[in-house]
């Protein structure tokens, strides 16, 4: 266990030194999400929000702002991990990845160390923005304060697992930009960031349950916006845990596959 922690912390530190030496990171993790959030917010403006609609069953029209803020907070956690996974490509080219895989370290610890570093250092600014925003929109009175750290904890855990999964995929392929398109955009569309999941058509719901973010956002909104009790969201928490375990198993399987693949085909730097 101690050994695992050392590897985890070492990778954490390395990621920190590598990617957080410039202020540029704040563009991608603060400025862009704020712009995207407002784009989504104004996208709702052309519609008739005064009369009854499907949406008002789930989110009242005054709550659209806070609904979107929580959605984008979850999304930015996941997006920061997409960026961490993208950094796998330069690491592969420089040859450090190969060195790591030559050593007997636990692959999972390395992967999750990377993910954790990017997550914790990247998203705190947007988190501040969200908290300020929620007060600015003013229509939110969290009924149970205990729910906020709990849902934040679930968000962090699920995001790190998601990031580990992406990192593992990027181990496999050099042209990982393509995965960005087929994973990231549906994540934004179907995991309830901008559109409530109950509103989605049945095929959309099916896609949404593949993303851990969907469960986290459902739990988060139930607790913060509806004041639901722990008992009421327990089924969702259990489903989230199942999804997380499936993703961890999948990640470790992909890593083993990827390593085997590169042993057969040549060096990590080449493929």
């Amino acid at each position: 266990m101690k050994n695992l922690m050392t590897i985890f912390m070492a990778e954490f530190k390395k990621s920190h030194f590598l990617y957080f030496h410039t202020n540029m990171i704040y563009f991608s993790l603060l400025v862009w999400p704020i712009i995207l959030f407002f784009s989504a917010y104004y996208s709702f403006k052309p519609f008739d929000t005064k009369s009854e609609n499907v949406l008002s069953e789930y989110v009242s029209n005054q709550e659209i702002g806070s609904f979107l803020l929580i959605g984008y907070l979850g999304y930015i956690f996941y997006f920061s991990l997409m960026q961490s996974a993208f950094q796998m490509a330069p690491e592969r080219a420089r040859g450090t990845l190969e060195l790591i895989f030559l050593s007997p370290v636990s692959r999972l610890a390395v992967i999750y160390g990377r993910a954790m570093a990017n997550l914790l250092e990247g998203v705190w600014l947007f988190f501040v923005f969200t908290v300020l925003g929620l007060f600015f929109f003013g229509d939110i009175q969290p009924h149970n304060w205990w729910g906020i750290p709990l849902s934040l904890f679930l968000l962090i855990i699920s995001a790190v697992v998601w990031g580990g999964f992406l990192n593992a995929i990027f181990l496999f392929s050099r042209d990982a930009g393509f995965f960005f398109l087929i994973i990231q955009e549906p994540l934004l569309l179907f995991s309830g960031v901008r559109i409530p999941i109950p509103v989605l058509p049945i095929w959309g719901k099916f896609i949404s349950y593949l993303f851990p973010l969907s469960y986290v956002l459902l739990i988060y909104r139930e607790i913060v916006m509806r004041g639901a009790s722990l008992f009421e969201v327990s089924t969702m928490i259990y489903s989230l845990l199942v999804v997380i375990i499936v993703f961890i198993l999948l990640t470790s399987w992909i890593i083993r596959k990827a390593e085997k693949n590169s042993k057969i085909n040549g060096s990590m730097a080449l493929y």
Binding site: W32, S43, N53, D175, L181, P201
Partner: protein
Amino acid sequence: MFLTIQATFRRNYLVMRHSLPYTSIIGSLLSGFYMILFSYLIYKIMFNGKLDDSFIKYTGSSDYITFAVLGSTVYILSISVLLIVSRSLISELRQGTLETIFLSPASRQGYFLGCMLQGLMLVGIEFIGILVMGFFFGLDITNINPISASITLVLIIFSFYSQALVLGAIMVWFRDTYITQNTLITLMGLISGVSFPIEYLPDWLQYLSKIMPLTFGLVAFRETIMLGGELVSSFESISYLIMLTTCYFLIGKYLLIKVEKNILEKITE
């Protein structure tokens, strides 16, 4: 200049034929698809197809789907043209061929035009592809005024071209593509009226949107397609568009001379 256009076109065409950037084509088509799908879902399913009266007041039409599809299509077009032209220089820099180009007496504008015209071969496929997808979601172009629409489209492409000159100079100056291009692209998505009329934005953002050719391009393009307007009827936005194109072109040209000097000085040092 014509010789440079031809030569650049030919070179880039050869590059394209040897490694067809199919991921970027699929990428653009998918982005367009997701944008249209999002608009469709919120319009048809979340709000039961009910629009606010203000939308009709601002756009003169009650056809949100056509509004959104045209917005997404031209937005994706703008991204492609902007990136093709602006990234050309920095790609040369990364490949190590920039100095050779700067040392040769070839026309700089010819080089950029060559890059754009060749790039349009693929961009055209994306543009038509996204429009075809739009038809499945309910795009309606029965009111189109084909001549005005085509002329407007050409003007729009050239406005992106001149904006790309400025962007390209900034990219080479800061040696950065990731932050510069994505900040501009996300900002354009917010303030240029891609998925909602800009009148909903706060005043200061509306002023900011006036420096984006995409804003006026979209107004004019939608007018010719949705309302079947003549060029004269969108005179205001067209003249703004031409004015912006000229400004960006002059600024871009000036900045590129500066950048070129800066790079040549670094080589001789």
